[in-house]
């Protein structure tokens, strides 16, 4: 692949320019993608310059002078036509092949990678590590191959990290995967890029790249939640289950579902006209069977997923303790 290396070197200057229009390059693949993109931008610029420049030049040069202008009668020119069919074809095949090489790297999963399970759900990502740690953001060690195994609980989502130039759909009913090797420490945006309903544009999370030592420390700390007070454990569950993407806790602002700020113990108006009190049993029922008692003024059917079978009794109690504390 000598020509590839030469081409890459030639394009370094160009891709630096492209860099200001692209997110930071945090992986080796992102640099390769940017080099190819830089080349494509140059090619596009040249072809547009020929077409648009030629068009403007001819339009000005051959502007109509009198109504009786005679024009040349040129029907075709085989040599020219072959030329402008074959040259684009060669360029297209070149970029096709170049893209193929990088795409192949993207799609070939490394062996011995750190595997992390990532599940999409309307509208949050939940991240599972092998030791049982559950998180709502992805934390990975720097300079290590990481493989994300993607799944979805409901509709199709897509896991996209612009700084890594990678993206993969999470499809319900099957597993898909992507891999990366982060070279830069820091926090990177993760977007959902497959339209998934109301809060599609808020299905954001962070991908945090830390040193191996910090990663090990984080993993142990996270798995060691049993010593925490009940309300703090609840707060963690509230965060990792992404309850916060629909329910605000620090203000009465409605995101998707009702705000939980100062809600505890207040009277309750159910959509079917019945009333009640916002208490332990109501919270439990709403988490397990969200369609049962939808609060007045909120969408029916409720977009909230059921957590039946997903939360243990101990977790439920911790969650309720946390919501009590929001008063």
């Amino acid at each position: 692949m000598n020509w590839l290396i030469v081409m890459n070197k030639l394009l370094l200057a160009k891709s630096a320019v492209a860099g200001t229009f692209m997110p930071v390059q945090a992986t080796e693949i992102s640099k390769q993608v940017d080099n190819l993109y830089g080349f494509l931008v140059v090619v596009s610029f040249v072809s547009c310059a020929i077409l648009i420049g030629g068009m403007i030049y001819f339009a000005v040069k051959y502007k109509r002078k009198t109504q009786n202008d005679k024009t040349a009668y040129i029907t075709h020119d085989t040599r020219l036509e072959v030329l402008w069919s074959v040259i684009p074809l060669i360029v297209f095949l070149l970029v096709f092949a170049w893209g193929w090489i990088i795409y192949h790297d993207m799609r070939t999963m490394p062996t011995n990678a750190l595997e992390i399970q990532v599940t999409g759900k309307q509208w949050a990502w939940s991240v599972d590590y092998k030791n049982g740690v559950k998180a709502s953001e992805v934390v990975v060690p720097v300079n290590r191959d990481v493989k994300l195994i993607l799944a979805s609980d409901d509709v199709i989502h897509s896991f996209y990290v612009p700084s890594f130039r990678i993206k993969q759909d999470a499809v319900p009913g099957r597993y898909t995967a992507l891999w990366f090797r982060a070279e830069k420490l820091g926090e990177f945006h993760v977007f959902c890029t497959e339209y998934c309903g109301t809060s599609h544009s808020r299905m954001l999370t962070k991908l945090r790249v830390v040193s191996q030592a910090d990663f090990d420390k984080w993993l142990t700390e996270e798995s060691d939640v049993s010593g925490l007070p009940l309300a703090q454990r609840g707060a963690k569950i509230f965060q990792t289950r992404a309850c916060a993407s629909c329910h605000s806790v620090d203000s009465p602002v409605v995101k998707v579902g009702p705000s939980l700020k100062a809600r505890w113990g207040t009277p309750l108006n159910v959509e079917d006209g019945t009333t009640g009190v916002f208490d332990e049993n109501y919270v439990r029922e709403s988490v397990m069977l969200p369609q049962q008692k939808i609060a007045k003024g909120f969408p029916k059917p409720s977009p909230m997923p059921s957590f039946q079978g997903q939360l243990s009794e101990a977790e439920m109690i911790a969650l309720i303790e946390y919501i009590k504390g929001l008063n």
Binding site: F21, M22, P23, V33, L36, Y37, L40, V43, S47, G54, F58, A59, Y62, R64, K65, D69, K70, T71, A72, Y73, I74, T75, L80, E81, W84, S85, L89, F92, L93, F96, G99, W100, I102, Y103, V155, I156, S158, Y160, P162, S163, I166, K167, Q168, D169, V171, G173, H189, C192, T193, E194, Y195, C196, G197, T198, H200, S201, R202, G297, P299, P301
Partner: protein, 543 residues
């Protein structure tokens, strides 16, 4: 519609509104389509302005959607839901009710018979039926507005479209019905081209617009049934739970994407091929020169139509489709680039040594070349697998297809409108008005959509109601651009209305064009020509 002082024409031969709705004349049916499509374009355009207004700033300061009147919204819809609905209707209406029927049903209907020297299309009654079927589908689509609307995006991806609590079935049935109309129109045009050419009008003497409409008709007839069955399966999945697409019932949601794009990618060429046909007409007329590479352009239309059936998988590079499939589709997509490049260079070569007159239609044609060059090259960028992984479903894609479909198709529609206006209505429009509309639309278009390429490269996903602060500036520029485009279309509307009410009588052939329609009266009589034309030469004999 006004009246013509001397002689009869298709406009005044039969009086009364009823005669319009029962007319079998291809020209009158074209006008029916024109009024309907432009109305939908207006609605879809207002929605586009709403979307851009929402994206003017991040959502922290409140949402524009809160101002949507109550009778148009369902209780409990959040601003984000309303945005998603507006986004869906903008896409669905612009695709199924404006761009797909646009050129074939309006200009194709009006000028295909005229350009080949025929009295009408092959099946006039079927032609009228097509309009009624189209209107029935469109009415059903618009009526979902007043029910629970739809929020699936125009692509109806499963399983979201199975779970969404909105009128998906109604909308899908509407698209199915409009598809039926598209098939009937396509069939009519194919038979018309084969059976009704005037004596001496061989296939290779047909104007390139006819070739484009012909190629389009083939795609319409072959591809639309696939969309129809796909949408029907989706409706069945929602109503009966047959388990084809729903993973909960053992179905495969990605299968829907394959089916959908197997139609919808060729449909992209249903949208652009007729536009290319118009461009050939405009460039030859306003440079007073024969087309360069007639056969190459005609064959490349057919070539694009053929290859377009085998590229759908480039919409699925990150869907979980196999690597091999990705590579094959990337390769085949590159092949579509070649006939497209051929056309671009042929138009450029046609300008060479011409006598170029700067009228509005020519400006629209040059605008088309400009925007389509950018749209086409960014299409090549997106066809490169590794690069598409980054750009897929970002604003880069949004910018790309607007450059191709709006920059391409809409520029051609506007160019065609001002080119054929005297022929269709028998009145002259204001040249200044037409040129001013071009200035605003062309500049506004670039201001709106060019920043979206950069937004996409920076990673902003499409179909986002809200975005992170670093995308704000480019979104602001884009929104300002949308106001310029709107201004351009308002100017165009005023120009058309003024032309209709107070335009001078149009001569037979105001632009010195050579194709057959310019031998008919302006506006043409009921059966097009006083005497059946006999053709002895090609369409662009500017000697």
């Amino acid at each position: 519609m006004g009246h013509v002082s001397t002689g009869k024409s298709y406009i005044n031969e039969e009086p009364g509104l009823k005669s319009w709705f029962t007319s079998l004349d291809h020209k009158r049916i074209a006008i029916l389509y024109f009024v309907a499509v432009m109305t939908f374009f207006l609605i879809g355009g207002i929605m586009a302005l709403l979307l851009r207004l929402e994206l003017f700033s991040p959502n922290t300061a409140g949402s524009v959607m809160e101002h949507i009147p109550n009778f148009l919204r369902k209780a409990g819809d959040t601003p984000a839901d309303l945005y998603n609905q507006v986004m869906t209707y903008h896409g669905a209406m612009m695709v199924f009710m404006v761009i797909v029927p646009g050129i074939p049903a309006i200009f194709g209907n009006f000028f295909l018979p005229l350009q080949i020297g025929a009295k009408d299309v092959a099946f006039p009654r079927l032609n009228l039926l097509s309009w009624y079927v189209f209107m029935a589908g469109a009415a059903l689509a618009v009526s979902t507005f007043f029910f629970s609307k739809i929020d699936t995006g125009w692509t109806f991806y499963t399983p979201y479209s199975i779970r969404s609590g909105t009128s998906v079935v109604m909308m899908v049935v509407a698209a199915f019905i409009m598809g039926m109309s598209s098939i009937l129109t396509g069939l009519n045009f194919i038979v018309t081209v084969h059976k009704l050419r005037a004596p001496g009008m061989t296939m290779w003497r047909m104007p390139l617009f006819c070739w484009a409409i012909y190629s389009t008709a083939i795609i319409q007839v072959l591809a639309t049934p696939i969309l129809a069955i796909t949408l029907l399966l989706l409706a069945m999945e929602r109503t009966f739970g047959v388990g084809i697409f729903d993973p909960k019932l053992g179905g495969d949601p990605v299968l829907f994407q394959h089916f959908f794009w197997f139609y919808s990618h060729p449909a992209v060429y249903i949208m652009i091929l007729p536009a290319m046909g118009i461009i050939s007409e405009l460039i030859t007329t306003y440079s007073k020169k024969t087309i360069f590479g007639y056969t190459a352009i005609a064959y490349s239309s057919i070539g694009i139509a053929a290859v377009s059936f085998f590229v759908w998988g480039h919409h699925l590079f990150v869907s979980g489709q196999s690597e091999v499939a990705g590579i094959v589709f990337s390769f085949l997509t590159m092949l579509v680039g070649v006939p497209t490049a051929i056309k671009m260079f042929n138009w450029l070569a046609t300008l060479y040594k011409g006598s170029i007159e700067f009228r509005a239609p020519l400006l629209y044609a040059l605008g088309f070349l400009f925007l389509f060059a950018i749209g086409g090259m960014t299409g090549v960028i997106l066809a490169v697998t590794a690069v598409d992984v980054h750009f897929h479903d970002t604003y880069f894609v949004v910018a790309h297809f607007h450059y191709v479909m709006v920059g391409g198709t809409l520029m051609a529609i506007m160019g065609g409108l001002f080119h054929w206006f005297p022929k269709i209505f028998g009145k002259m429009h204001s040249e200044t008005g037409a040129i001013m509309s071009w200035v605003f639309i062309f500049i506004g278009f670039n201001v709106t959509f060019f920043p979206q390429f950069i937004l996409g490269a920076k990673g902003m996903p499409r179909r986002y109601f809200d975005y992170i602060p670093e995308y704000e500036q480019l979104n602001k520029i884009s929104t300002v651009g949308s106001w310029l485009i709107a201004t351009g279309f308002i100017i165009a509307l005023i120009t058309v209305i003024k032309g209709l009410t107070s335009g001078a009588k149009a001569p037979k052939n105001p632009w010195g064009s050579k194709t057959l329609e310019w031998h008919a009266e302006s506006p043409p009589i009921m059966h097009n020509f006083e005497q059946d034309p006999i053709v002895t030469a090609g369409p662009y004999e500017y000697k």
